[in-house]
C-alpha cells in the first residue's frame, strides 16, 4: 500500500506492507538515528515525534502515519546541538545510544512545558531508558538546557 507523510518537513511518498512498523519505514528512508531496542514499547530508544508527540516507532504501524508528520532528531539538529552541549558539560552520556530519542522527548516536553521542574523532567522521561548514565546527570543537563533557553527567551 502507498502512504504519504511529512518527514522532517519533507514530503515522503512510499510503498509499505500493511503490517510494516514505522521504525522499518524510516530506516528505509535513510533515517539512521532511530535505534531498535526492546521492540515492545518499553525502552524508548525508537522514539520519534508523530505530530509533535513522542511515540515508539517500534509499535506504530506505518499505515497509521499516512498524512501525518514525523520528526526525527535529524529534523531538530539545532536544538539537539544545544542540548548535547549541556550533556557534555554534565557528563550525562556515555555510549550515546539513547540520545536521539532523549533529545526528541526533551523537545516535546519543551513544547508542553517550557519551565519543567526536576520531577517533571523525570516523570516525562520515565519511558526513555539509559543504561549508562543513571539519569542524574541527564536530569541536570536537561534542567540546564531549559534554564538557558528560558534566559535566551527573556533577552
Amino acid at each position: 500500500m502507498k502512504i504519504e507523510f511529512t518527514l522532517n518537513n519533507r514530503t515522503i511518498s512510499t510503498h509499505i506492507l500493511p503490517g510494516e512498523y514505522l521504525i522499518e519505514t524510516l530506516q528505509k528512508c535513510n533515517i539512521h538515528s532511530i535505534r531498535r531496542g526492546c521492540d515492545t514499547t518499553n525502552c524508548g530508544v525508537c522514539t520519534v515525534l508523530l505530530d509533535d508527540k513522542p511515540v515508539p516507532s517500534c509499535s506504530v504501524l506505518s499505515a497509521q502515519v499516512d498524512h501525518h508528520s514525523i520528526t526525527t532528531v535529524e529534523g531538530i539538529a539545532h536544538e539537539t546541538e544545544k542540548l548535547s552541549a549541556h550533556f557534555g558539560k554534565e557528563g550525562a552520556d556515555q555510549c550515546g545510544y539513547c540520545n536521539p530519542a532523549l533529545a526528541l522527548a526533551v523537545f516535546a516536553l519543551r513544547k508542553e512545558n517550557s519551565h519543567p521542574t526536576s520531577t517533571e523532567i523525570d516523570e516525562y522521561l520515565v519511558g526513555n531508558l539509559c543504561r549508562c548514565s543513571g539519569f542524574k546527570n541527564q536530569n541536570k543537563a536537561i534542567a540546564a538546557y531549559f534554564e538557558e533557553e528560558a534566559y535566551q527567551e527573556e533577552q
Binding site: 500500500m1 506492507l17 500493511p18 503490517g19 521492540d39 515492545t40 514499547t41 518499553n42 524508548g44 522514539t47 508523530l50 508527540k53 513522542p54 511515540v55 515508539p56 509499535s59 506504530v60 504501524l61 499505515a63 497509521q64 499516512d66 522527548a105 516535546a108 516523570e123 516525562y124 522521561l125 520515565v126 519511558g127 526513555n128 531508558l129
Partner: protein, 267 residues
C-alpha cells in the same frame, strides 16, 4: 505478527461491517498492544478518522471517545476532577509517555487485559460502554461476556456525580505491569472496591461493598471487617511478579487505605 490488509474506516458502520466479514478482522485501536494479540490479522481496521478521540461533558454524564489516548486522559481537567482523579492517576502511572500517546482507552478495555490499570478505576466509576451493535452495556457485563465480541466500541460513559475515589498501583518498576492495582470509590452510601492485575482482569468485592453500604458510620473495626471480606471475596493468583499470598497481603493494606481515604476516616 502479519497484517494482510489495512483499512481506515470512513464511518462506524463501515468499521462494523468489515469486522463482521471475518473473525480475523480486527480493530487496532492505537496499536500499542498489537504485538501481544493475534499473530495474523486479515484486515486491520483503523478508527482514527472517526473523531472518537475526545472527552466531553454532557448534562448527566462524561463521554470519553474510545480512541482517546491515555495521555489525553491524564491531562484532561474533566477527568482529573472526577472521583478525585482516579482515572487520570491510573493513566499517568502506565509506562512512559510514548506509549501513553498511542494507547487508547478503548484498546485497554477491548483487550480485557488482566494487567490493565485502566479497567480497575473505570469499574469503580460505574463506567458504561457504548457499542455500535450492543448499544449500552456496563463494563462488568462486557468483561463477563464469554462470546467473541465483534463490535465497535464507540465511547465510554461515566455518570456525573459527586463521588470520592482512591487508586493505587503496586509495580516492581515504573515501566512494569502492576503486581496489583486497586480502586475504591464512594458515592453517598454506595461503595465500590475493585482489585485489578490479580493477575486476572479486575473484579469487584460485592459483599464488602454491600456491608459498608448498610452501615451509617465507619469505625476501625468496620473497616477491618470490610477489608477481610473484600480480600477473601476476590481471588488472587501467582505469576512472575508476585505470589497469591503477597497479592492478598497487598490487597488488605491498600483496601484499608482506600476505604479510609474515601470516608475521610482518621484513626
Amino acid at each position: 505478527m502479519r497484517i494482510e490488509r489495512y483499512m481506515k474506516a470512513s464511518s462506524i458502520a463501515d468499521a462494523f461491517a468489515i469486522l463482521q466479514e471475518r473473525p480475523d478482522n480486527k480493530i487496532i485501536a492505537g496499536g500499542a498492544w498489537l504485538k501481544l494479540t493475534d499473530p495474523v490479522i486479515n484486515t486491520a481496521i483503523d478508527l482514527s478518522l472517526l473523531g472518537l478521540n475526545s472527552i466531553s461533558e454532557q448534562d448527566n454524564e462524561i463521554e470519553i471517545g474510545a480512541m482517546t489516548t491515555l495521555y489525553t486522559l491524564e491531562k484532561s481537567a474533566i477527568i482529573q476532577k472526577m472521583y478525585d482523579g482516579i482515572l487520570a492517576q491510573a493513566a499517568m502511572k502506565i509506562m512512559g509517555i510514548t506509549i501513553r500517546n498511542i494507547a487508547t482507552i478503548g484498546g485497554c478495555i477491548m483487550g480485557k487485559f488482566g494487567f490493565s490499570d485502566i479497567i480497575t478505576p473505570l469499574m469503580a466509576m460505574d463506567a458504561i460502554l457504548v457499542f455500535h451493535q450492543h448499544q449500552r452495556m456496563t463494563l462488568e457485563a462486557f468483561l463477563d461476556s464469554k462470546a467473541n465480541f465483534q463490535d465497535v466500541l464507540i465511547k465510554i460513559v461515566i455518570p456525573k456525580t459527586e463521588a470520592r475515589g482512591y487508586f493505587h498501583k503496586i509495580a516492581l518498576t515504573s515501566l512494569d505491569f502492576a503486581v496489583l492495582n486497586i480502586a475504591v470509590s464512594r458515592k453517598n452510601s454506595e461503595y465500590r472496591i475493585v482489585f485489578g492485575s490479580r493477575p486476572g482482569v479486575a473484579s469487584r468485592a460485592f459483599a464488602a461493598e454491600q456491608y459498608l453500604k448498610e452501615l451509617k458510620n465507619v469505625s476501625e473495626d468496620i473497616i477491618n471487617k470490610a477489608v477481610d471480606m473484600a480480600a477473601s471475596e476476590c481471588r488472587f493468583g501467582t505469576n512472575q511478579r508476585g505470589s497469591a499470598e503477597y497479592r492478598l497481603n497487598l490487597a488488605k493494606v491498600y483496601a484499608k487505605r482506600g476505604i479510609e481515604a474515601v470516608t475521610d476516616y482518621e484513626n
